[in-house]
């Protein structure tokens, strides 16, 4: 049986790395006494499958993790009722479990299934030209950036990855954007988008608001429509 868990990463814990999170979850699952399945071999590890990595320093309201449960351990779905609370109690401040669902059919992994993410991006810089530059970026037929992938530099067009983008707030020297960025075939990261906006804007704060999977053209969050347990 596989559980899918949704959680946050907010506040000071935004400075944790993806690897840090993996260790924190391993310990939290043991503390919550969940019968997690372990890999075979010399050093058995719990079978956890994380979704798209979040950059160190970015926050999120919608992170996901799949947990394989030990098939030999009897676990009633009803018994999962208080699991979100139990997991949250075992996690540090800022990492809160907000929903748990049972996946009847495991299906594609989170990394395969998710096609886009919604981001809130806070920039530091002049507010007067922000709207104009955002519009220009959206109007551009292509936006070429060079990316370093494992030491190999490639020229990529990131324009197709910008699915939507608009300015949500302008105040003082702060520009707030909301953007839907694609994750297939390669994830467009908010920092790459900020770089494409060019100077003088710099990233202040980034938060992932949602991750989306596509079902017959409709967008839904990765937890639905499976049996949701203890969703808020």
């Amino acid at each position: 049986m596989r559980l899918r868990v949704r959680f946050t990463k907010l506040g000071k814990v935004r400075f944790l790395s993806h690897r840090d999170l993996a260790r924190i979850w391993e310990r939290a699952l043991r503390r919550a006494e969940l019968p997690v399945a372990y890999s075979q071999g010399f050093s058995p590890r719990p079978k956890l499958h994380f979704g798209l990595a979040l950059s160190t320093g970015h926050e999120s309201l919608g992170e996901y993790l799949d947990v394989d449960l030990d098939p030999t351990a009897a676990l009633a779905v009803e018994g999962l009722g208080d699991l979100t609370a139990r997991l949250s109690a075992a996690l540090p401040d800022g990492i809160e479990c907000t929903a748990v669902a049972v996946l009847d059919h495991p299906g594609p992994s989170l990394q395969e299934a998710v096609t886009r993410c919604t981001w809130a991006i806070e920039l530091e810089g002049p507010t007067d030209r922000a709207e104009e530059v955002v519009a220009a970026l959206l109007a551009a037929p292509s936006i070429m950036v060079s990316r370093d992938r494992k030491g190999r530099v490639t020229e990529d067009d990131i324009r197709p990855g910008i699915l939507s983008m608009n300015v949500t707030e302008l105040s003082g020297t702060v520009v707030c954007l909301r953007a839907d960025l694609g994750t297939q075939p390669r994830t467009l990261r908010p920092s790459e988008l900020v770089a494409a906006l060019g100077s003088p804007w710099s990233e202040r704060r980034v938060c992932r608001l949602h991750q989306w999977v596509e079902d017959d053209g409709a967008l839904r969050e990765p937890l639905a429509p499976v049996v949701a347990v203890g969703a808020p």
Partner: protein
Amino acid sequence: MLSLWPRLEPLLSRVSKPARYIGCEDGAQRPAHRPGDVSWLLVYPDTYEIGLPNQGLQILYEILNERDDAVAERSYAPWTDLEAELRAAGLPLFSVDNHLPAGDFDVIAFNLSAELTYTNVLNCIDLAGVPVRAADRTDWHPLVAIGGHCTYNPEPLADFVDLVVLGDGEEVVGEITAAIAAARSQGRAAVLRRLAGVTGVYVPGLYESCTGEDGRFAGLRPVDAGIPSQIEKRTVASLADWPYPKQQLVPLTEVVHDRLNVEVFRGCTRGCRFCQAGMITRPVRERPAEQVRTMVTEGLRRTGYDEVALTSLSTADYSGIDEVVADIIGCGDNISVSLPSLRVDAFTVGIAAQIQKARRTGLTFAPEAGTWRMRQVINKLISEDDLYAAVESAFSQGWRRVKLYFLIGLPTETDEDTLGIVELARRCVEIGRNYQRSPSVTVSVGGFVPKPFTPFQWFGQNTVAELQRKVALLRTAAASARGVQLRWHDPRATLVEGILSRGDRRLGPVIESVWRNGGTFQEWSEHFRLDLWLDAMADAGVSVDEIVHRHREEHEALPWDHLSAGLHKDFLWQDWRDALAEVGLPDCRWTPCYDCGACTGYGIEHIVASAVPPAGGSQGTAVPVLLRTAVGV
């Protein structure tokens, strides 16, 4: 006090591993600072990864926060990138708990476990916005304190610290807190005088160097009759009264020794003559087995760790170790136990086999010296047969890699002794071939640094050139020994450890100069700068040879003579003569007392559950033969 967090946050986005600075660990406290509280900032003067697991610091953190007249927070040396950001932004060193400025605490207390961190101590004091020299501090500045093993010779740091704490901290931190609370309205000088009266506390500013008629150093004397002339270390009589840490910190990011740690005993009377930790922590005080079990099971449940280390200076000597280990393994699947320092004999390898059912990759033994003669000199009486039996037992039970720890530059060492190291390793590989296709033996050698309060405190340390010559000898020999890998510690770093270990107050300007020239993080090879140290020594007119390489004389005054670890100086001198005569000394846990002073002087005793030596190896029987192993490290 105002949290610096909003101003720190933007900097953290620009530095490496920012999670080191956020706090938020499970077990972390965010104490409210009540008026009248004595506030302590406990600092480990190296990176968070190294400092967080430090158990001494965690124990004091809990004990202080449990008191109703104290609060304690933690800090670690910021890495060079954050230091540059802090200095550029005009921000000070901060606590990781409430992110408060270090300079706002009443006491900044450093845990000193390694001499090469001394320049970081100065850097942290400076980053706190506090004058680095104690003499320049006013009533408004925090007191700077140091504790930990290095404080048995605090003289090199005497210019920079206000107080030094010797020995176990559990009881004395409360007494220091009370003394500060009682005297602080009368100003800094009054507080320091009062602290000088607390047993275990040394206030360097109240002592001055004396010069004898021959013009040589003649010891330190108190400035007036109201100050004690001898400072005794503190020893808690029983660990059972101190089941700390109760809430071991669980870091959110990577650190060394990331596991539950339970201290099973303190002190060691094996009597290895090079080992300062063993000498200064006597007598042996075992934690009751029942308490160990409770601390392990509750700790695992609370933290979610799947690994527990049973810590001490020689964990296989713990009475009933096999039962305790069996109980822990029985308490859950996938729980692993590590025993960071073990003797080596068939018994010990048996325990290791019990622990490492699946993962038998590497076992570590520490014979420390390559020949029987040399091991008699250092009182590590492992016969060749013991070592080979242990190694055979390991390879035959499925281990493929054995790691052996050795020291070079020991007293009376000849090239035959040095080369004996590779010879031993070669024989171990041979034994391994009977059981494994490609057994491997890694030999790790470190240069020996004589430490205060050991029988070797009089010995002149080998020069860098001599250590390098010995390393070269070993490299040549190891090159033709198949299956033997050689690793060695940089002899240049060993020299600086030597300078700081037995130096005196003349080193103050030396440390300050190295720090001012950017020599921080000297424990890190990429930052280590021997040139800064040698230049500073020359500028200060202090001879390296006099402090490090010269053999000291029986009656000469030593810079730490005014401090006491309980050990009688004549006991140490006799042990030094015995070492030169190649005479070993059995463990006083199971043989009559030698009156070294550690128990007799303080009216305390060993607390050992078993009246007989542990079974199995020759190290437990009439001839104490002992080895340290690290299982699975």
